[in-house]
Subunit: 194 residues, 2 copies
């Protein structure tokens, strides 16, 4: 598969299959109180965020950049790698759109697993061929659910939707971020305990 | 330590020490954009929730009870154990108050670790001396961040506080739930990766 963004391998046949099946995904969605309303709200969020992804990423990168304990994961011997940051940023922008627009099917599950491996020592740094911290520590993957959720609300409110519509988009986003973050934990978890 | 609620061992000297130190906690709070405002908002949330914990627990238990894939963790051979459910419920009520009112110090960290072990196979079922599923699967611990956060908002709004005050309490609660849930993941994570 060729792709204009380096390392963005969504749907590629080379990807490993996620250890989770659609049946597992279904139960997770049920746990997250997922409904039709969320599907529609994410579609709408996708429209609202489409031309704002750069602003969102400026905010998120500002946050990572101002926290040395986070920036270190993009660094080697404490020197951040700007090429690495830039390469990941492009894929991060696509992730925002994918979270809103893609059907959550086996291809989606498989790419979540690939992203999981890219945060974990299994595949970190390989996609961009860089030398950097060998793994992102687990604790911050789950912790990020808060900032990645909370900071989106302002952007969801920027296109003139009602307070209620913004709230519905916001909680669908919260569910979707929680779901992806937990899927990304998979490689970190003891065998049989996920 | 004697305690009126069976198995509630907050501060007990018999508890194992958390593998995390206050320095780790500090960095996690920073990642969660934690501030003085959150401390105050949690105190206020504690006042607001104090005489509503039974209603909150009715809602949460209703949710678990109507999802067989969750209720099974309170069950043996698919038969839920009402004594087990009732015993845990009492400690769950105290957790709501502790989350709002306790200082997040080493004692707090140590009890989070104890609760982690009680969800994990290490100590599940021991506190109440029951036969039930040997472990809660990891995926649902993180997934619960959504329902445990989202459903609290209605209760925070019930005591006549302004919309802004409710929002501030709600995001402090979101941070606190994310923090505890990630601490509870500790026993599930591969050595050295937490
Ligand atoms: C909810 C939590 C997180 C989200 C939504 C997120 C999002 C993303 C996305 C979309 C990518 C690109 C995936 C791809 O290759 O297509 C990525 C990669 C990356 N993220 Fe995260 N991330 C999260 C947690 C973290 C944390 C806590 C850190 C630590 C600072 C971090 C640092 C990185 C790094 C260094 C890469 C590049 C990995 C590689 O070498 O391929 N991420 N992240
Ligand atoms: C954010 C996620 C969660 C929160 C806030 C939470 C809260 C609690 C609390 C406060 C306790 C009592 C702790 C004590 O002994 O003092 C507890 C125990 C328990 N929880 Fe959770 N819980 C979470 C996830 C789950 C999940 C996903 C399940 C699955 C249905 C579950 C089922 C249980 C069970 C069975 C116990 C009793 C464990 C034992 O045998 O001691 N919990 N939980």
């Amino acid at each position: 598969m060729t792709s204009p963004i380096k390392g963005y391998d969504y749907g590629a046949s080379s990807l490993a299959q996620s250890p989770l099946e659609l049946r597992d995904l279904q139960l997770l969605k049920q746990t997250l109180l997922w409904s039709e309303v969320d599907e529609q709200a994410l579609k709408l969020a996708g429209e609202v965020l489409e031309n704002q992804t750069d602003d969102v990423l400026d905010l998120w990168y500002g946050y990572v950049g101002s926290n040395t304990h986070l920036l270190r994961y993009f660094a080697h011997n404490e020197v951040p790698n700007p090429d690495y940051l830039a390469a990941v940023r492009k894929r991060f922008g696509l992730w925002i759109m994918d979270l809103c627009n893609r059907p959550y099917d086996q291809d989606w599950l498989d790419y979540q697993y690939e992203i999981a491996l890219r945060h974990h020592s299994t595949k970190k740094n390989l996609t961009d061929g860089v030398q950097a911290e060998p793994m992102i520590h687990f604790r911050y993957i789950v912790a990020f659910i808060f900032p990645i959720t909370y900071t989106i609300k302002g952007f969801l409110a920027k296109k003139g939707h009602s307070i209620d519509q913004v709230e519905v988009m916001y909680s669908a986003w919260f569910k979707a971020v929680t779901l992806t973050a937990l899927l990304w934990c998979q490689p970190y978890v003891n065998t049989g305990e996920f």
